[in-house]
């Protein structure tokens, strides 16, 4: 089976109270790709997912699965697999009962159902858990059952609403990589909603960043992080250092605390970089300042460095060196890690 594309054409959705959740959204999810929809709460990401699922109907616009217009089809006739935020497992059924629910509706025989159920329990690593009650499962196990249940009827697309949000940090990390492997292995078109940029980066082939019901940027994780389309995207997917450009100098740009390397012809008003792209130097650097504070974070430490600008610079350093507060600090930057933003 070839994976199908999902296409939203000019979709708009407003709620009864008048708030517009999604403005004229055009979006194509390619067959087999995993798209992450990322944004703060209330940005319309869940509504977008629900439009694809058929749980919401757009006020204006169309939804296509492949060439088929599914705008008017309710969710039960769209053939989608869906994983809900709190899993929404049926508490009256055991694990196997949950997994075969969709198969029963499709009229599979008991033999076929059991076979498929065993396959899926195997796939999510829960063999011998079929007869367990939902109440006996841990959060991670519930998540897997929810996934198995969604995949059991071999849906055309898989939609996941904050699939890992209800888990604790350690488990989230592990299930994230498992989910990643699973989605790659299945090659199914999948869309998931998250507010966690790390999750979006790790799982998404592409990321759709949404802001107030509109597309802020749709690009690969690398592009989103390194060439964010605007200040909102840049700020949402990580921390940012901003440098006000004072003047152009022979070697680059003069900013508070030193000079930044800059090749491009045009002189921007402000340039930006990520905290981990600033390196602490022993001798000379591009920028010079004093250490305000250092926070040890395990694998790396975060430094606040005052270079005389309005905000102290954030520096993520992995050299694990202890600096004295107030000590002079020299910082260097890789030239291509500097970028500019549209307002």
């Amino acid at each position: 089976m070839t994976a199908i594309t999902i296409r939203l054409k000019g979709c708009r959705k407003a709620f009864a109270d008048g708030t517009v959740a999604v403005h004229n959204l055009d979006l194509t999810v390619e067959g087999g790709e995993t798209l992450a929809i990322l944004g703060p709460s209330g940005c319309g990401k869940t509504t977008t997912l629900r439009l694809m699922a058929g749980l919401e109907r757009p006020d204006v616009g169309q939804v296509f699965f492949g060439d088929q217009d599914v705008t008017r089809l309710p969710i039960e006739r769209r053939d989608v697999g869906m994983v809900f935020q709190n899993y929404a497992l049926f508490p009256n059924l055991d694990v196997a009962g949950n997994i075969v629910y969709g198969l029963k509706i499709r009229g599979l025989s008991a033999l076929e159902r059991n076979k498929r159920c065993d396959e899926l329990l195997e796939l999510v690593g829960l063999h011998n858990h079929g007869r367990r009650s939902i109440h006996e499962l841990s959060g991670g196990q519930r998540q897997r059952v929810a996934l198995a249940r969604a995949l059991a009827p071999r849906p055309k697309v898989l939609l996941l609403d904050e699939p890992l949000a209800a888990l604790d940090a350690q488990l989230r990390e592990r299930l994230r990589s498992e989910l990643n492997e699973l989605l790659r292995g299945l090659g199914i078109t999948s869309v998931f909603v998250t507010h966690d940029q790390g999750e979006a980066m790790a799982l998404g082939d592409r990321i759709l960043v949404m802001e107030q019901g509109r597309v802020a940027q749709l690009a690969s994780p690398r592009e989103i992080y390194q060439q964010p389309a605007n200040a909102f995207v840049a700020g949402f997917v990580g921390n940012l250092n901003a440098f006000q450009v004072i003047a152009q100098s022979p070697r680059g740009l003069t900013v508070c605390g030193g000079e930044l390397p800059w090749q491009a012809g045009e002189v921007p008003a402000t340039v930006y970089c990520r905290p981990e792209h600033l390196r602490v130097m022993d001798g000379e650097g591009h920028l010079h300042g004093r250490l305000l504070a250092q926070f040890f974070q395990g694998a790396q430490s975060r430094l606040l460095v005052d270079v005389g600008g309005p905000q102290p610079l954030l520096v993520d350093s992995s050299d694990n060196q202890q600096h004295a507060v107030g000590a002079p600090i020299a910082l260097a930057i890789t030239p291509h890690m500097l970028f500019t933003l549209n307002a």
Binding site: I75, A88, F90, Y101, I105, A150
Partner: protein, 264 residues
């Protein structure tokens, strides 16, 4: 440890109150088993009265059971979808409807019965069949099922469970029976037992609606109090208690299980 005199006084008071409420019940039961109540226990104990009651009034017992069961079925069929609709709508209209539904409970049974008689009394066959009483019972007991079922439905994450079922291909009817009903089982069961209990003991409405051919147990009881020996009436009470007490115990057990399930 030495108990204070206050404790002893409190205990005494409690026991007195208990006795005040329980002694009449026990006396009544005893009366039903005593050969001659006016002579007292010295006249000996007997099952004769029970047998006599059974011979005279067993049809009322069967009719009451039949009514209670039919009433439970009707209330389920009407009440569960009604509760679902009310929870789903949750607007001004549905709340008004909920209040309206409780009206037959608040109104004197005689008044509701009179209204039924005024409206449907002219349909002779309907009027003289037990179905006429059934209508009264259903009206009266409906809120006692709808309320607990609504409470359970509001507690559960039913909307998202239904969305999950829909995503797996289940249509609205399938969702209702495979997701909504099973997950409200406890509430439905509690409601049904309540309905059965109420229907078995219902007197006000039934007394107005019954005919000599459709006498229920409580109506028969009133009849026996009015016309037969005190022992017969007491024996009759004993039979009624034998029917209703197991039901009440089941009711307790279910509500205990309900609250336990909630904590999980």
């Amino acid at each position: 440890m030495k108990r204070s005199s206050l404790f002893v006084l409190q205990l005494l008071f409690t026991l007195l109150v208990c006795a005040f409420m329980l002694v009449p019940v026990l006396l009544s039961l005893l009366a039903g088993l005593t050969r001659n109540f006016f002579v007292g226990l010295s006249s000996g104990l007997t099952f004769d009265w029970l047998v006599q009651v059974w011979q005279a009034y067993s049809p009322t017992v069967w009719l009451s059971l039949q009514l209670a069961l039919a009433c439970a079925v009707c209330v389920c069929v009407v009440g569960v979808p009604a509760a679902y609709a009310l929870v789903r709508m949750n607007n001004r209209f549905s709340r008004a409807f909920e209040e309206l539904m409780v009206l037959p409970v608040a109104m004197p049974g005689l008044a509701s019965a009179l209204a039924l008689l005024l409206t449907y009394g002219q349909f002779g066959a309907f009027r003289s069949s037990w179905l006429f009483i059934l209508v009264g019972h259903v009206l009266f007991t409906l809120p006692f099922l709808v309320r607990p079922v609504m409470a359970v439905m509001q507690r559960q994450q039913l909307p998202v469970l239904e969305e999950a079922a829909a995503s797996l291909g289940a249509g609205p009817i399938k969702r209702f029976f495979s997701v909504v009903v099973p997950n409200c089982r406890a509430g439905i069961l509690a409601g049904v037992l309540m309905v059965v209990t109420l229907s078995l003991g219902e007197f006000n409405l039934t007394w107005m609606l019954h005919t000599p051919m459709t006498k229920t147990l409580p109506v028969g009881l009133a009849d026996s109090y009015a016309s037969a020996r005190l022992e017969i009436a007491s024996a009759y009470t004993l039979i009624f208690l034998l029917m209703i007490v197991p039901l009440l115990i089941a009711l307790q057990a279910i509500s205990a299980r309900l609250s336990r399930g909630e904590r999980r």
